[in-house]
Symmetry: C2
């Protein structure tokens, strides 16, 4: 149930429409917490109903409208309460390692395909997260720039440092997954004989 806190983190930097928030999910928080629009719009309505956000109907052109959401004091407090609350961890549920534990039931080719897919998956994530680190350093992330604009001077270093910290952790994790899968490819070579040239 972190979706609402991800949304609060975004709305905290300034009023936004559902559409803007949904787009931000694709490029900033979304690198850490994915959510589709079909989940975001109803959640914003719920949060408005609970008083965490205030919605403001705006006109757009002749007949178009959009709804700008502002954070309320209750919303700000909910975010701070969440930051102070003990984290909740999901029980482990890891399809990749589950499958890896039974690779003797696969052919060597299937095992290699699986591990290569794992590498490709994490290389994709790695690229996202490294890109985000670059954008943080270049002050090139629009949300971070907006955030820093409303942040007191003495808090800018901290804001940037914690963001770097989060993404560095993700980069390390991705590198670990890739290294693990590579060692799995080596293991298959040792156990089943090296792969024939295609």
């Amino acid at each position: 149930m972190s979706l609402r806190y991800a949304l609060l983190a975004l709305v905290r930097v300034g009023p936004q429409s559902g559409y803007e928030l949904q787009k931000q999910f694709a490029v900033s928080v979304g690198h850490v917490w994915h959510a589709p629009d079909s989940q975001i719009y109803p959640e914003l309505r719920r949060m408005e109903g609970e008083g965490l956000l205030a919605g403001e109907e705006q006109t757009r052109g002749e007949r178009g409208t959009r709804r700008l959401y502002h954070i309320t004091p209750a919303g700000e407090q909910a975010f701070l309460d969440w930051m102070a609350s003990p984290p909740d961890y999901q029980r482990v549920r890891d399809p990749a390692h589950l499958r890896a534990a039974y690779l003797e039931a696969a052919t060597p080719a299937q095992g290699r395909a699986f591990l290569r897919a794992h590498i490709a998956q994490w290389e994709g994530e790695l690229e996202q997260w490294r890109g985000e680190l670059v954008r943080i350093d270049a002050a090139d992330n629009p949300m971070l720039v907006r955030r820093l604009a409303v942040t007191a001077d003495e808090d800018r270093e901290r804001t940037i440092a914690y963001k770097r910290f989060a993404y560095e952790g993700l980069v390390e994790r991705a590198l670990g997954e890739i290294q693990w899968a590579r060692s799995g490819l080596d293991l298959i070579d040792r156990l089943e004989g090296a792969e024939e040239a295609p």
Copy 2:
């Protein structure tokens, strides 16, 4: 939807009751894929309905019964098909890194509490997974022993090696998470000043 494949992996070594499978989840596959009994019993019934398992009603004492599940050829094939299928990855949804990215909104004490909880969480997992490695090496895991008993000699090495491979990956991941959180504690010290003695 890996639950049924985790169950198939277990039933593949020999007939088991729902209760036994549920217990195995606590000590073997459960280290990789958690599932509560309230999910396991209905899933077994569904799998029986789909012909992946064959259930056999047994009497226990005077009036007690239990249901033994055998894997069917269709079940075996479903497991092998799953091993050969491209893995599916969930979109990223990581509450810990989400929170880490906004730690400037927390007090130093809250930030430290969060990171310490993260360390405690992963030290718990680490202990589980290292324990599992020890049991693999000592041939002390009942499911693995049963598995090896029905495994051809030439396949034993592979069976053990892949299991080690899976758990070694999890151990590395846990170590990475712990290292990350420790570096976060150092970061808080640098940014906010070292913690006062309690």
